[in-house]
């Protein structure tokens, strides 16, 4: 799932400073799950903006809406009447959602209110961790299902480095696990430690052709 984080309010206030009427648009998929841009965050941000504007003595009218998936043109089209009412849209979706909105409403500024951070999973209530770098050339078969590209601070394909701390922690951040220690333990459990002997040449990041495109095989 895509994880995002709300931008600091000061930045958001600056983004919408020129406008008197804005639509705060949430997305009902990934960013709802990671508490960054669902209906509730929309309601709270809208309320906060009204309070901020009132405090500064300037007028603002803030509308609220949440699209089921902002990265779908058809779903974004459903809010066109609301968008027509405002001067700018403040989107709480990931970068993909913001761009879909921007493309659908080319005459309106669509401004991002969150920073899209990574693809990850919840570790516990309210805490998400990065799991996948969307590199386009998956390596997980060789590492016991643990991605060293994003979970190793150095993104090493041949680890661990010499800096692993006691207790299997990372030298960059003693709070974080060394991905290669995790990989070793996992492979050990599976009786596949021989994989650790393999040397992997530098990864061909050109597999990620920018901008990426995935064409499903037509049924």
């Amino acid at each position: 799932m895509i994880i995002a984080e709300r931008k600091p309010i000061a930045e958001i206030k600056q983004l919408i400073a020129p406008y008197k009427k804005v639509l705060v648009a949430g997305c009902g998929t990934c960013v709802t799950v990671c508490w960054a841009g669902g209906e509730k965050e929309v309601a709270m941000l809208a309320s906060q903006l009204r309070l901020a504007r009132n405090a500064e003595g300037s007028e603002i009218s803030v509308l609220e809406t949440t699209v089921e998936r902002q990265c779908e043109r058809e779903m974004v089209a459903e809010i066109k009447d609301k968008v027509a009412e405002v001067e700018a849209v403040l989107s709480l979706a990931c970068g993909s959602g913001v761009q879909t909105m921007a493309e659908m409403f080319e005459d309106k500024p669509v401004l991002p209110a969150v920073n899209t951070t990574f693809i990850g999973m919840p570790e516990k209530e309210g805490l998400w961790v990065e799991m996948c770098g969307a590199c386009g050339d998956c390596f997980l078969d060789r590492t016991g299902g643990i991605c060293p590209i994003v979970r190793c601070a150095k993104g090493l394909l041949n680890g661990p480095c010499g800096g692993t701390r006691r207790g299997g922690k990372c030298e960059i951040d003693p709070e974080k696990d060394c991905a290669w220690v995790l990989i070793y333990r996992r492979l050990e459990k599976q009786g596949r430690l021989d994989l650790m002997r393999n040397y992997y040449p530098p990864k061909n990041y050109r597999a990620v052709k920018r901008p990426g495109k995935v064409q499903a095989v037509k049924a």
Binding site: P8, W35, G38, E39, E41, Q48, L51, N54, A55
Partner: protein, 678 residues
């Protein structure tokens, strides 16, 4: 079309004397959708209730507002009135114009009363009906444990006609029962054979629970007994897993054989000492015996009992010299004081010491050195046997069982914290009960109370084979739920799980019988999918809206109905006055208060917002008050970010019997607001 709203005002036999009811009636009549307004002086008496029923029927009233005393007293009575009049009992909203208006302030409070009625009217028009439904429950009960407590419970449940499975991990029942036999004179072997012969009790020994799914009335339990796997359904689960003891003295090198102080030989546990007492062919009878307790663990009710009993028995049997070293003697259990006196009278010597005595071995004897607090002198006693201090610990496997059932343990790893809002034998999960020693240092009398209490609870719950529950009071809208699992992770009562709707989409399913309706899930749902009837956003905001233009200068307090709300009522009753500007919203738990609600109150112009919940560690819903605290802090960050002119929310913990604290925090808030000139 708008529902017809009837407003029933009551002056409570004339005790509400600072409200001009005629003026209030005139004002209330003008509110939209209000089709009927009545003033009574005895709404809660039979006469008043009958009048209310006939009014509702004759005037075709669809929603009812009662402006009278606190809902804490009479809400359920008025719900019944509505039901008798043919309305859903939940189409009721109460305005507390007595405790939190008339009695709380000096002088004429008509305007405030009218505003409270308006808040109730705004809320009542949005309320949705809550239906009741019957659910089947299994009449089988699982009792985990095989000791005195578990066996007694199974026998008593059998007597009231409920079938029980007794699940014991050891090969036989009653492994610790001998202690009870010597202390209390119970014939435990007779009990064991009775339970084994009881046709309502299935005894499974050498067996343990491996998986539990489901909710109250319908637990599915997987049990492993050797190679065999047994799968059963139970309506309730009772944990009676008891305790275990461990010698408090850590074996130290200086106590090894060469100095002849040996664990199990001349340093023994209470249990080993019991078997020495029973042994008629003991080679040499101990002439001097030492006992120790209460040095390492202050929870020494049971060790004290064991010491006193064993000391007396040894005195009677062998006439030995007995020295008891202690820090303090806990004699708060029934009969303990008498036992202590008896021991003293028999010549048992009690030596109080503030520090743990030093133990050494010398020529086959154990030397105990301590400083007597009363004599102020060092004392040294050489004993043939030392009955060492024992630590009193939760039964083996408690940790495993608690994680299997998702039940919390306290700081000493016994089940259940000392939380005033939980009844002694109930856990935070409905249908799971905790009794006896597994709850910590209990004596026999308390254990017997636990047993009767759990039998009554379980009988009331399961005897009819069905329970009546409110249907979908808290519900996740399947259209809006994104299955983010947040609610499942935060529910303190384990009442939510993923369910499939329409055979495909997975959404949060809130179990009606397991739900305590605290609203913690509704306040955190990022998709705003969870609706808690009576406390939905609309209903909360409508009340805030009612304070309306006049909200300027008003302070809003969200008060938990378990603590702050009754505390506010009590302040009224005691006529401890607080500013009239306060508007109280009653919530089921401080954890139900959403950051959004607080922001909205500020947006509407509130000068201050208070969230008042139970004392720390005493939340009815375990985490509600701590979540409320975090949310208020977060809310203040948002307000600061928005540059809101110094207005902040605040959270306080208080108990229901703390009217002075309630008034103090309200006054402090009011003072701050006034000082800042708003």
């Amino acid at each position: 079309m708008e529902s017809k709203i009837g407003v029933f005002l009551c002056n409570c036999g004339g005790v509400i004397n600072n409200i001009d009811f005629d003026a209030a009636v005139k004002r209330v009549t003008k509110f939209p959708s209000v089709t009927y307004v009545n003033l009574s002086s005895n709404l809660c008496l039979e006469e008043g209730k009958e009048k209310m029923i006939s009014c509702i029927r004759e005037e075709n009233i669809e929603r009812v507002v009662v402006a009278a005393c606190s809902p804490e007293f009479n809400e359920h009575i008025f719900r019944e009135v509505l039901e008798k009049a043919g309305l859903n009992g939940h189409f009721l909203s109460m305005a507390n114009i007595r405790e939190q208006c008339s009695w709380a302030h000096d002088g004429d409070v008509t305007m405030k009363a009218v505003e409270l009625v308006k808040m109730a009217i705004n809320r009542v028009r949005l309320l949705q009906p809550i239906e009741k439904k019957e659910l089947p429950v299994s009449r089988e009960v699982l009792v985990v444990g095989g000791g005195f407590t578990a066996i007694s419970t199974a026998l008593q449940l059998s007597r009231v006609g409920l079938r029980t499975t007794l699940l014991e991990k050891e090969a036989v029942l009653g492994t610790r029962a001998e202690e009870l036999e010597s202390f209390y004179g119970f014939d435990t072997s007779a009990m064991i054979s009775t339970v084994e012969g009881d046709e309502n009790v299935e005894v499974l020994t050498s067996a343990e629970m491996t998986e539990v799914v489901g909710k109250i009335g319908d637990f599915s339990v997987r049990i492993r007994k050797g190679e065999e796997e047994i799968f059963r359904k139970y309506g309730a689960i009772i944990l009676a897993t008891g305790y275990q003891t461990e010698l408090a003295l850590a074996p130290e090198p200086r106590l090894r054989t060469e100095e002849e102080a040996i664990y199990g030989i001349n340093i023994v546990s209470q249990e080993q000492f019991c078997s020495m007492l029973r042994n008629s062919s003991l080679e040499t009878e101990p002439k001097t015996i030492g006992f120790m307790f209460d040095f390492s663990d202050g929870n020494s009710r049971f060790p004290t009992l064991a010491t006193l009993n064993n000391a007396l028995a040894a005195k009677k049997k062998w006439g030995s010299e007995i020295y008891v070293f202690y820090k303090s003697v806990k004699v708060d259990s029934e009969g303990m004081e008498k036992l202590y006196q008896e021991a003293r009278n028999c010549g048992v010597v009690f030596i109080k010491s503030d520090i743990t005595p030093r133990i050494t071995g010398e020529s086959g004897r154990v030397t105990i050195e301590a400083k007597d607090v009363f004599l102020g002198e060092d004392i040294m006693v050489a004993c043939d046997v030392l009955v060492a201090e024992e630590l009193y610990l939760p039964g083996e496997g408690t940790e495993k069982l608690s994680s299997l059932l998702n039940i919390r343990v306290d700081s000493r790893s016994f089940y259940q914290d000392a939380n005033v809002h939980l009844y002694p034998v109930t856990s935070e999960k409905k249908g799971i009960f905790l009794i006896g020693e597994c709850r910590g240092d209990l004596d026999l009398r308390r254990v017997l109370t636990d047993i009767s209490s759990v039998v009554m609870n379980v009988h009331g719950l399961l005897s009819l084979g069905k329970i009546l529950v409110e249907s979908e009071r808290v519900k996740a809208d399947p259209q809006k739920c994104v299955a983010c699992l947040t609610c499942i992770r935060v529910c303190p009562h384990d009442a939510i799980q993923l369910v499939r709707v329409d055979g495909s989409k997975e959404v949060a399913g809130i179990s009606d019988p397991a739900c305590y309706a605290c609203g913690i899930c509704a306040a955190i749902c990022p998709a705003k999918a969870i609706k808690f009837q009576g406390y939905r956003d609309e209903e909360i905001l409508a009340q805030i809206e009612a304070i309306g233009e006049s909200l300027k200068g008003r302070n809003v307090a969200f008060c938990c109905e378990h603590s702050a709300y009754p505390a506010a009522d009590l302040a009224g009753k005691l006529r401890i006055h607080y500013p009239e500007t306060l508007r109280i919203l009653r919530v089921p738990c401080a954890g139900q208060v959403d950051v959004y609600h607080i922001l909205k109150a500020f947006e509407k112009g509130a000068t201050a917002v208070l969230v008042l919940g139970c004392e720390e560690g005493a939340c009815h819903h375990i985490t509600g008050n701590t979540r409320a605290k975090e949310r208020v802090e977060y809310c203040n960050i948002l307000l600061k970010e928005a540059n809101v002119d110094g207005r902040r929310a605040a959270m306080f913990n208080l108990s229901p019997n703390a009217p002075h604290k309630f008034v103090r925090v309200v006054n402090e808030m009011d003072k701050k607001v006034k000082e800042s000139g708003r």
